[in-house]
Amino acid sequence: MSRFGRQLRAEQLLYWRNRGAAFFTFLLPLLLLGLLGVIGRDQTVNGRPYADYFVPGMLGVAVVMTTFAGLAITLTIRRERGILKRVRGTPLPPAEYLAALVVSTALVLALEAVVVLAVGRLFLGVDVPGAWWQIVLLVVLGACCFAGLGIAVTRLVPSAEGSSAVVNAIYLPVLIVSGSFYPVEDLPTALRVAAEALPLSHLLTALQDVFIDGGVERSHLAGLGVLVLWGLAGAALAARSFRWEPQA
């Protein structure tokens, strides 16, 4: 096995052995999906089954939780414990180390996305759309952007103890205003403006397009540009300011 393969395997081992983190980033979106499935069983929104909104919504939540929250918290804790500093003293190139962690996170997300789609189809009557490849593309795009933002945000988290609190405080409000649980068009204007400035709402709108209309609407493609801009800004910030040594 190559060095990258061994590093990736180690990251997978670490992810699944750390039950607390695995619950938080992997099971929580599935739990939310189950709850919404029970609560919103026979409800409709804009004349469509509610599940047509919250199944793609939970895909978006899964993207944010595994990539943004997962990477931000994992990297902050490793930085503050001095694990990153130790790795930096070895011949392993830093980019390869980060790449293995990101690819490992992507594997977790892929598995989670499959489970979300399967639960939607088997229990909630939401068929996987014909244009499923658009869903794959959107999840990959979202994962790249939120991974960049997750790595960048570690610069704002000063200590391992506070990392979950700070990261949760950043993304939970974003999940709510961005239409993860409800279509964003139905939000009050002020929140809608906020949502449109943020990256997640555009990913969710595009995902809902695929489920409801069979493909991303042309008018919503510009919104994906907002997502990409956030991702690029995150990646640039991460490249400039990422720290390998404890900050606290």
Binding site: R6, G89, T90, P91, P93
Partner: protein, 326 residues
Amino acid sequence: MTPAIEIAGLRKGYAGREALRGISLDVAPGEIFALLGPNGAGKTTTVEILEGYRRADAGHVRVLGRDPAGAGPAHRARVGIVLQSSGVYPHMSPREVLTLFAGYYPRPRPVGEVLAAVGLEPSADTQVRLLSGGQRRRLDVALGLVGDPEVIFLDEPTTGFDPEARRACWDVVAGLAAAGTTVFLTTHYMDEARALAGRVAVLRDGEIVAMGRPHELVAEAGTAEIHLDLDPALDATLAEVAGAPVRRHGRRVSLATATPTATLHALTGWALERGVELGRLEVLRPSLEDVYLTLTGADEGGSATATAAGRGVETHPREIQGAGVE
């Protein structure tokens, strides 16, 4: 032979304070070199510059002929690092972590051999989160060794070890040097420096105040100490007879002299004349501890051991007291 480590005129400041004020030293290949000094003297700053974590403000720094700041993977493969404190993945066992890290190096040592060298075999398959502090420190040392480095940096490797574990670690370090590895260690344990190091440098406030073989430092200090029990009423007379200032701790009196034979002769002559018994009379050459405490300024206004214990100058006063008198 080209030195394994070269430092000349090294300076480093943090936030307006000069942590290192122009230090210079060379370490030969295969040598064990110890950097001694109290907390805050600049030991960790020095070693982290050598490891490539920090950049020098000024001066010349070479490790294996390369500037460690910005050196790439090929250089890192030749250097082992044991940081003062750094974590390991809590959900992996020592064997798993060592196997992973061994894979980063072109010619690693066998993991089983490294586990045996640091005495971690019994807990090799226990997850790191369940290990004791001492076991984790052994794993730190093992991770520094696993790449089979030409130079290894050990920043206070045995802090927190019990005496048995410390001796085991010393054996490992001595074995490395015997096999040709250059060892650069920082410590504030005198006995560690004496047991291991071929040469030591004493760092005080960012400057090297002494450097040499441990016995040379002691010889350079030049003085001997005479200790005895005596009635306090006789202190003034004693000082006059001995021609040296007298320091008292309870019943015990001590005085330092550069000419122990003459001073002792004067003292015993006076005591015989007056019929006074000099209780528990001893002449001691200073230990490395005494020299160190004098050099680092911890010995102002009191005997070495009493000062260290009383003021808590060192973080491990017991250590110094226990080893203070030879």
